[in-house]
């Protein structure tokens, strides 16, 4: 017998009540689906923002945790002599100190506050290769340059750079009131770290900001990335000695790409767990709603059950009819949830892209859709088990004798 036809007809007949029942399942599935598709995008976006693609770079920052503000003067800063010492380590190919300073850019009579990062003249080629950058207009900074600045791609376009005027190689710009020549504009990278960056040779930036021997971050390239944790240990040991601290009470953080990634993932996982808990509660409420609707339905359709039995329906067939109908309730709620969740994921990813300047492609995860549909059918039919059993056990005589 065609249970599916039956189920669909009955759901159609029930109309708005069915739809209200489905809100719980709908919200739950929408939350799960949007979270999953957003979560993927979010991970990719965040990962690319931190430049974690390059797996052989270790970075060192002063402070008790990697999340403390760079250059914050509460902590004992790292110095150029630390950089030199790290460079002496056998596992290290090279180490570069970098400083990030808040600066004032002025162009076309518009002032912008932003940060500039120092480029070590001695290691400029290596830095470019770590960052994987190249100039779209003009050129990169090269040794001997003075009072020159290299800008990220966001500064180029007059519509988006905030200066209302195209800024390109050869133009003069004021940095903290001093005239600098724009030597080049970088290629678009899709990550705000690069696209909004202002790069100035260390000696020029030191002159502007006066940070002396201090550095904010030391970026280290290792000889062999298979021994990256060995290199990390070497660096930690060296810095403990130089800064005179014990194991466990380090006032600096050495982070490898893996450790940074795992921190990012921890945060994302926490968000996911939270959403999954909310989704589970919604689905539970949805399941209770379905149980309620189906129980009411069994009472309302006692007569129909009696008729079905009088024309030869077995208890198992009555059970299946209600069971499948209940599963359909779940699957419809799930389908609507999937549509909404996918839309949220899609537009959410686009929003993340806009926000971070990332270029993550919104993805439609078909296996996620399939398992969500299957899951909502299972939830629906599981919720229908007891009502369906109740339906199957109806005494046909009682059901038929009731006046319609």
């Amino acid at each position: 017998m065609n249970y599916f036809l039956f189920a669909l007809r009955n759901l159609k007949r029930k109309g708005i009540r069915s739809w209200l029942t489905l809100i719980g399942i709908f919200i739950g599935i929408a939350a799960v689906v949007s979270l999953m598709s957003l979560g993927d995008g979010l991970k990719i976006a965040v990962t690319s923002q931190f430049g974690i693609e390059s797996t052989e770079i270790i970075s060192v920052q002063a402070g008790g945790s990697s999340f403390s503000a760079p250059g914050s003067d509460v902590v004992k800063p790292l110095t150029k002599s630390d950089v030199r010492a790290i460079n002496e380590l056998s596992s290290v190919e090279f180490a570069v100190g970098r400083t990030i300073e808040t600066i004032k850019l002025e162009y076309n009579d518009v002032v912008q506050i932003t940060s500039a990062v120092s480029i070590d003249e001695e290691y400029e080629k290596e830095l470019y290769s770590i960052m994987d950058i190249d100039a779209e207009f003009g050129r990169l900074l090269k040794p001997g340059d003075s009072k020159k600045v290299l800008l990220g791609n966001n500064f180029y376009n007059a519509d988006t750079n905030g200066f209302d005027k195209t800024l390109t190689a050869g133009k003069e710009i004021l940095v903290n009131g001093e005239s600098f020549n724009v030597v080049g504009i970088l290629n678009k990278k899709g990550s705000f770290i690069y696209d909004a960056s202002v790069m100035i040779f260390d000696k020029d930036l030191e002159e502007l900001a006066g940070y002396g021997e201090n550095v904010d971050i030391i970026s280290i390239k290792v000889h062999n990335k298979d021994f990256i944790s060995k290199a990390k240990e070497d660096i930690e040991k060296l810095l403990r000695e130089r800064r005179n601290v014990d194991v466990g009470s380090e006032d600096f953080v050495v982070s490898t790409p893996e450790s940074t990634l795992s921190q990012v993932n921890q945060v994302l996982d926490a968000i996911q767990i939270f959403v999954i808990i909310i989704a589970s509660i919604s689905i539970l409420i949805g399941a209770v709603g379905i149980i309620n609707t189906m129980t009411t339905s069994v009472l309302e359709r006692r007569r129909e059950i009696g008729i079905m039995k009088s024309i030869g329906a077995r208890n198992s067939q009555i059970f299946l009819q209600f069971f499948i109908e209940s599963g359909f309730l779940g699957i419809i709620g799930g389908a609507v949830g999937i549509i909404f969740g996918t839309l949220i994921g899609y537009f959410g990813t686009l929003t993340i892209n806009n926000f971070f300047g990332a270029t993550t492609l919104p993805r439609i995860n078909f296996s996620l859709i399939f398992f969500s549909l299957l899951g909502s059918f299972v939830i629906g039919s599981a919720a229908g088990i007891f009502p369906a059993m109740k339906a199957a056990r109806q005494n046909p005589i009682h059901a038929l004798r009731e006046e319609s």
Binding site: R13, I311, R314, Q317
Partner: protein, 232 residues
């Protein structure tokens, strides 16, 4: 045309209901024998137990005591699944309230008993076509029950009862919800089916109807058979 032999036999059948502290004997030691091809009417005022008797014959209910034989098989000892099969294949029910499934079309209502028996789609289509023609419902096949008249609904119910070509048709006040003219038409259909060999057991409180159509009339009162009248 009529085949010979006993098709339904009720032997000392009792059906008790518990209502609070009291036991109500809805059917109290009745004996009924129906031969193949008979048109039997069960008469009685409301509460006389006539509907209970019909549900017992139709295997929708199980006797408290006694035995019911259908085609030689004791159905009072069968399990739920076997009883469902008997209701599906050997018996066709017709009710006062028509009892069609409102969400299904006329044709789907007629094919429903067949699909419950797992009959193939092609056979169902073919049979439904014949039955629809026979009951002059072909042009109503795609209508829903609420789109057709009471008389037509009852003819659909008869069509549904014929779906699996059962030997026995049980009709519970088949004209109770119809005006006399449409009622007559429905009765003519039942009479015609009887002439073609179907055994018909009809429950009614309508004296004239019983005597006009039935060969044998059982009078029930307080769950007991009061008298049996046979057509001369």
């Amino acid at each position: 045309m009529k085949k010979e032999g006993v098709i339904i036999q009720l032997k000392n059948v009792e059906r008790h209901y518990h209502i609070g502290e009291n036991i109500v004997r809805a059917v109290d030691r009745i004996n009924i024998t129906v031969n193949r091809g008979d048109f039997v009417a069960v008469m009685g005022p409301s509460g006389s137990g006539k509907s209970t008797a019909m549900y017992l014959i139709g295997s929708l209910d199980i006797p408290t005591h006694g035995h019911i034989f259908l085609d030689g098989y004791d159905i009072s000892v069968l399990g739920e699944s076997d009883l469902a099969q008997i209701r599906g294949r050997n018996i066709g029910f017709i009710f006062q309230q028509f009892n069609l499934i409102p969400t299904l079309t006329v044709k789907e209502n007629i094919t429903l008993p067949m699909s419950l028996q797992g009959i193939s789609k092609e056979v169902m289509e073919e049979r439904a076509k014949k039955i629809l023609e026979k009951l002059e419902l072909t042009d109503r096949a795609e209508h829903y029950p609420n789109q057709i008249s009471g008389g037509q609904q009852q003819r659909v119910a008869i069509a549904r009862a014929l779906a699996n070509d059962p030997e026995v048709i049980l009709a519970d006040e088949p004209t109770g919800n119809l005006d006399s003219k449409t009622g007559e038409r429905v009765m003519d259909v039942l009479k015609k089916l009887n002439k073609e060999g179907k055994t018909i057991v009809m429950v009614t409180h309508d004296h004239d109807l019983a005597y006009q159509y039935a060969d044998i009339v059982y009078w029930l009162k307080d769950g007991k058979i009061e008298k049996v009248s046979k057509r001369k």
